[in-house]
């Protein structure tokens, strides 16, 4: 900065600032969590029993992030940023990512003239033949896949090491790809809970040999995430499996006032009680929180058979509304 004073004195209109924020810290919009905007600095926790499409939601977010806003005049509305996916459950299926990404690209090509907002700008040159489209698809597909970084962790030490190297990785990706890390995905944050619950520290003294305790682990994880957030704008998405099943209702004070809702949706209501097991330290880091579950309702689209319906509810910020969605081949669709 040559002249700090000049930099300080610049006045910016609200509109200019809004535009700048949109550009620097775009919001992540993906179903079913599209009701509140998720921006840099947010730590979003997605809680739910297994299976409740948690990993699928994370996949949606990743795809939204790695797709470009537009490509050859075709609008994808993505962010074109790097995603780092830390897989603690070791269950990520790259074929599913490839499938959804390809279908998204294909459908955007298919509906270029219909739904794209910038369709006016699409020049005739871009309305190419199929073979050409295939070729371009592949190029786009590869460039998207390169923005997806993945690591698998089999224990908590590897997890900590991975968090420490995220920043290194993102710097090198910025040099290679020209874009920086924007979304960090952790699936699922509670994976090593039992391993650490069982081993309590042998002594209280920090300098003697001890196994990594649960508190110490969470403390370190939270610290590492804060460290990364200090250096660059970042959205953290973490899924959390409910490992205790239904618990006593006394723990769920926050659900007390939505009794009516629960009765209305008896088929899903019993999925909604769970016991919190992550330490308060992590809880205080989380800025937004959603609960997902599976309902007994089965929806059918006539062609591809039946799909189970999932439900999603915001817990923080609290909202008394159940969003219903189904998982189809090409990703998550909301149902009203």
């Amino acid at each position: 900065m040559e002249n700090p004073r000049a930099w300080l004195l610049v006045n910016e209109t609200a509109k200019a600032m809004f535009g700048r924020m949109e550009k620097e810290r775009p919001s992540l919009v993906f179903p079913p969590l599209n009701h509140f905007s998720i921006r840099a600095g947010d730590v979003v926790e997605i809680t739910g029993p297994s299976p409740s499409a948690k990993s699928e939601i994370l996949l949606q977010a990743a795809i939204h992030c790695i797709l470009p806003w537009e490509w050859n005049g075709i609008c994808f509305r993505g962010l074109e940023m790097v995603v780092a996916y830390i897989d603690l459950d070791c269950r990520f299926d790259v074929l599913r990512l490839a499938q959804v990404l390809k279908l998204r690209i294909m459908s955007a090509y298919g509906s270029t003239h219909g739904t794209c907002r910038d369709s006016d700008k699409v020049s005739p040159r871009n309305s190419f033949m199929d073979s050409q489209a295939d070729h371009l698809d592949h190029e786009l597909f590869l460039s998207c896949m390169k923005r997806f970084l993945y690591i698998r962790c089999y224990n908590s030490s590897e997890f900590l090491a991975a968090l420490k190297t995220v920043h290194h990785g993102s710097t090198s990706s910025r040099e290679g790809l020209g874009v920086s890390l924007y979304v960090l995905i952790i699936d699922s944050i509670g994976a090593f809970h039992w391993n650490h619950r069982a081993c309590q520290p042998l002594t209280k003294d920090g300098n003697t040999w001890e196994k990594l305790s649960l508190e110490k682990l969470t403390e370190n994880v939270v610290q590492e995430i804060k460290n990364i957030q200090d250096v660059q704008p970042l959205i953290v998405l973490a899924s959390k499996a409910t490992i205790f099943g239904s618990a006593t209702p006394t723990i769920h004070a926050h659900r007390g006032h939505s009794e009516g809702l629960k009765n209305k949706n008896k088929d899903v209501g019993n999925n909604f009680s769970y016991r919190e097991y992550m330490s308060p330290l992590w809880q205080s880091l989380v800025t937004k929180k959603a609960f997902v579950g599976i309902s007994d309702v089965v929806s059918s689209d006539g062609r591809n058979g039946e799909f189970p319906t999932y439900v999603c509810e915001w817990i923080k910020p609290h909202e008394d509304h159940l969003y219903k969605f189904v998982v189809r081949n090409n990703g998550i669709c909301m149902v009203s």
Partner: protein, 320 residues
């Protein structure tokens, strides 16, 4: 991809001064360095003497971690690995193969749940025979309840291959039997041992060429885990989760398809798979078998899958 245990052995660029700095703060292993180094450095920046030494060593340790132990892969590499190394192993039951898009995936852990006598063991034996017959590779069968039956394997093999002259049949059975390795395990610790041993064997296998081990069957895993759960203490669950991770690690690193079986327990009128909520996070694919008593038709439904909608089901028959 495992972390080095001792700093100086695995990380040659860590110099003496960093080691001394670490030792003075009780940091002797790489694992410990991960947890403590940043906070120690923060604390000791006030300490002028350490200032010159610590951050340098720490950042060097970090870049070493990155290059040696941790491999961030991008989507292209990941997809390439999946397409090249992770095959679908055909189960031999047509309905199930269609349902799963080709069979059991290598690199994944598939769990079969079902009530007693729903055909879980039969399914395991059938898949193992089929994989051996189709020459996909060798199979390791960990048997926890003495349910492995060579005669049953032989009869399944004869069914799959069709009739042959007696001599040819015997040779064929011999060949196939030699690619199915069965081992009895009766508690969770011997299971852990067996898995570690398998890891070593697979390590050796990369050196000398032979038939590749492509499948691991544990029938049934729940009979080993159930006895250690129960109590209030979390030791049992910790063991369960670590065995699960061990199997997933084997599956991914050595491209094995892992097949485990689990029984059902009834509670509150409905029956559900044993081992509870924590175990649910372990398998990639969960299939539920059911069979009407007396009938030879089994029904299999997908309870959980990494890339397909659940709750689809199909009927199949394992011939006698």
């Amino acid at each position: 991809m495992s972390l080095p245990h001792s700093l100086e052995e695995e990380l040659p660029t860590v110099n003496d001064s960093f080691l001394r700095f670490g030792a003075s703060h009780g940091i002797l292993s790489a694992e410990k360095a991960l947890v403590h180094v940043p906070s120690v450095i923060d604390a000791s920046t006030k300490d002028e003497a350490d200032l010159g030494v610590s951050p340098k060593g720490a950042s060097r340790t970090l870049s070493n971690f990155e290059s040696k132990c941790l491999r961030w892969m991008n989507g292209v590499e990941l997809l390439d690995d999946a397409l090249r190394n992770k095959r679908f192993l055909p189960t031999g039951c047509e309905g199930i193969d269609t349902l799963l898009g080709g069979g059991l995936r290598e690199g994944q852990l598939t769990e079969i749940v079902g009530p007693s006598s729903s055909g879980k063991t039969q399914f395991c034996l059938y898949v193992a025979s089929n994989v051996a017959v189709k020459l996909c590779g060798s199979i390791v069968f960990l048997d926890t309840s003495n349910s492995f039956s060579p005669t049953r394997i032989a009869s399944i093999v004869n069914q799959i291959c069709g009739p042959a002259v007696k001599e040819g049949q015997e040779r064929r059975i011999k060949n196939i039997m030699s690619s199915i390795h069965c081992q009895s395990v009766f508690d969770i610790f011997s299971l852990q041992d067996a898995l570690h041993e398998l890891d070593n064997t697979l390590n050796m296998q990369t050196i000398r060429e032979g038939t590749k081990i492509c499948m691991l069957v544990v029938d049934s895993v729940s009979s080993l885990i159930t006895p250690i759960l129960g109590s209030k203490s979390s030791q049992g669950r910790s063991l369960m989760v670590s065995v699960g991770y061990l199997m997933k690690q084997l599956a991914d690193e050595w491209n094995l398809s892992v097949l485990v079986t689990n029984h059902m327990v009834s509670g509150g009128g409905t029956s559900k798979p044993a081992l509870g909520e924590s175990w649910k996070c372990i398998p990639h694919v969960r299939l539920q078998l059911s069979r009407c008593p007396g009938s030879s038709i089994c029904n299999v439904s997908v309870l959980k899958h990494t890339s397909m909608a659940c709750n689809r089901s199909v009927d199949f028959e394992i011939p006698n």
